[in-house]
Amino acid sequence: MALLEVRNLQAGYGKLQVLFDVSLSLNKGEIHCVVGPNGSGKSTLLKAIFGLANIYEGKVLLNGRDITRLKPHEKARMGMAYLPQLDNVFSRLTVRENLLLAGYTLDHTQYRERLEEVLDFLPQVRAMMNRKVLTLSGGERQMVAMAMAILRKPDIIMLDEPTAALAPKIARNILNKIVELRDRFKIGVLLVEQNAKVALEISDNAVLLVAGKEVYKGPASDLLSNKELAKMYLGVR
């Protein structure tokens, strides 16, 4: 059974339909990336799965259970983590408070254990615990956001352009951490990434969206080697 299954999803915002009949399947310990040109509905797909966009038709299954109509906080409690592209940390709170909220659904002992695990995984976060997020750089914020997402040891983590607006070296560091996340914690990762080439290189499977429709679905390496599609839609030469 797939960890996450999206079946024939039709979704959007109010009367504006963005996604048309999109399906995908994500397994444990796998990175599945969603690529496509700007405005193709990549972010909307994550939002719809997480319950932040309207679903008109189709189903979302988590471990075989229909979660299509559940609210975001209910999905979060079921083991789903979603990292938005913007405003993914509480800037007026300290890093410690942000992490405390990331473990909102955990009891105190569980929280302490997970926090130590996360700080081992992202040691740079330990040094910023008492700082207000307002004072952090873009890369540091992204690290905190990632720490928040993995603190709950989710079964699945959905990342919306985690490297947007970051320097190449920091972006590479973040992507390496995503790979490490999959290998170390066996989490299923659903990744939306603007830099399609790099995303496809680290992903197991991929879906290519164009104007809200699936144009390709299958192994990421095959999409990367499909010169026609890669050149036409992904800017990969």
Partner: protein, 310 residues
Amino acid sequence: MMLPPEVFIDALIYSNLLSLLAIGLTLTYLTLKVPNFAYGDLATIGIYVAFTFNEFYSLHPYLIPPFAFITAGLVSLASYILVFRPLWKRKSNIVTLMIASIAVEIALRSMIHIYASALGLRRRVSLARFDEPVNIAGLELPSVLLATTLTTITLVCSLYLFLNKTKFGTAMRAAIENPYLASTLGINVEQVYAVSWFLAGGLAGVAGLFLPFRISATPETGWELLLKIFAASVLGGLNSIFGAILGGYITGFAEVVGIYLLSRPPLNLSTAYRPAIPFALFIIVLLVMPRGITGTDWRRLKKILRGGEG
């Protein structure tokens, strides 16, 4: 010129209550971004809870704050659940929410009128007889000064500890800053907002309870206070609880001390001008510092002033 102690005492009592009210109004504004016109009536509920418990159960007014807090809190919560939350979930804009709050205000005020009438209350509510002087280190002070100051300090400190030292309070601050992100972390934003509205109502109820110690209250008292509460809240920045406290004290002192000074020679103005002071302050704040004290970039303002001087 020295300020007579009774003017200072009057200003402090009034400012304590105005601060509590401004904190509550700010709390409701922070959650749904609605200027809640029904907020003043929650203070009126506090007045009538005090009257009812005192008249029918012979309870001393100083023992009534928990009842006033719970009753006004529950009414505020009901308004959130029955009116504001459904509208917010339908993504209603600020105008719709504001008009809804006016409707709630009219409904609440009418109900308070009916209740007062059912009690056979033709006269105004006053609890001034309970304001006995207390002797502290040779100083004779009105007991309501101590009661309001202690209550305000207790409530503000409790609120501070709740918001900063508890997990739920931290979640409340987070849900206020970014409800969307809070929900992705498993925080039930609607529940957090419901608690905010309950607390806001509770603060109004407690503040209202102390009003009849100094004024003769009627079902219109809360409505009449509303613009002053707004003035305090806007002066504080409308986005900050600390600002609301500050706004409450500045507005309260400006009103009481201001009318004392204006009514003396050489101006000799009538005290009937008293309500105009917070309104004037409100207008000045909107013109000069539209973001209030806590929202103003003081460094920039200082630079501009220095530049102007230079």
